[in-house]
């Protein structure tokens, strides 16, 4: 049975929440890795002591739960393209929050990849069992 393609307020809220959690998880994972490299200990020993590691890993099931709620409300053919916006938002966050230098070629690539993901995902018979691009 088709879930439908109507974006009501609750669905938009769920999408927004998933986007924020997707991006937050990736940012804290990056921070945890950066701190682990800088620490005076073997990488993985330091990594497991970083709160960001556990926050990032712990957000995985939350993302999965939110994704399952979303795809119960709307078709994957709508959910998939909307969720692809986490690509540009994450790259923007890495520039603004983490101070990474993102060249124009990478920005162009992000736009092209996001369009590609929309084309791949935005069909009625799309099946993907966990949220796209959580990655991670």
């Amino acid at each position: 049975m088709s879930a439908g393609n109507r974006l009501d307020r609750v669905t938009i809220l769920l999408f927004g929440l998933l986007l924020v959690i997707d991006v937050s998880a990736l940012v804290v994972e990056k921070l945890a890795s950066t701190h682990a490299v800088a620490a005076d200990a073997p990488f993985y020993v330091s990594l497991i002591k970083q709160p960001g590691t556990w926050i990032g890993v712990g957000l995985g099931p939350v993302q999965l739960w939110l994704w399952s709620k979303i795809i119960k409300r709307v078709d994957l053919s709508l959910a998939f393209p909307v969720s692809s916006f986490s690509f540009p938002v994450t790259v923007l966050s890495s520039q603004v929050l983490l101070g990474e230098h993102i060249g124009w070629k990478v920005w162009l690539a992000v736009a092209i990849i996001t369009t590609g993901v929309i084309l791949i995902g935005g069909e009625k018979d799309t099946e993907r069992v966990s949220p796209p691009n959580t990655g991670v």
């Binding site: 682990a36 790259v91 590609g116």
Partner: protein, 111 residues
């Protein structure tokens, strides 16, 4: 410029492969309810290994580069879906694949 060595390439390929592997395991779990526990368990083990390598990859690559490169998983999952589950890849999806390849090459050229 990001640090990009042979080990980085191995880690990137491993992450792409493991994410695809997880998707395949979860799909098998959904298709074969009688074996679903086993497939979920294997998928979760894959996820743990994936995360171990992903954290290392993030230590050598900026997030703004690593994430677009991981976009290739949309292609590998589509290909796995075709060869393992007999799903079709329409012309529209092939266009999406082509765009992701172009985007990947653009990011790669910046490394």
């Amino acid at each position: 410029m990001p640090q990009f060595t042979g080990l980085t390439i191995v880690a990137l390929i491993t992450c792409i492969f493991m994410e695809t592997f997880e998707q395949v395991c979860f799909k098998f779990a959904a298709k074969r309810p009688e074996q679903s526990r086993r497939w979920y368990a294997v998928g979760i083990l894959g996820y743990i290994f994936h995360m171990v390598v992903w954290f290392w990859l993030l230590s050598v690559l900026p997030l703004g580069y690593a994430l677009p490169l991981m976009g290739v998983t949309y292609i590998t999952v589509a290909l796995a879906s075709r060869f393992l589950f007999g799903e079709t890849i329409s012309m529209r999806r092939w266009k999406g694949v082509a765009l992701i390849v172009i985007g990947f090459a653009l990011v790669w050229s910046e490394l």
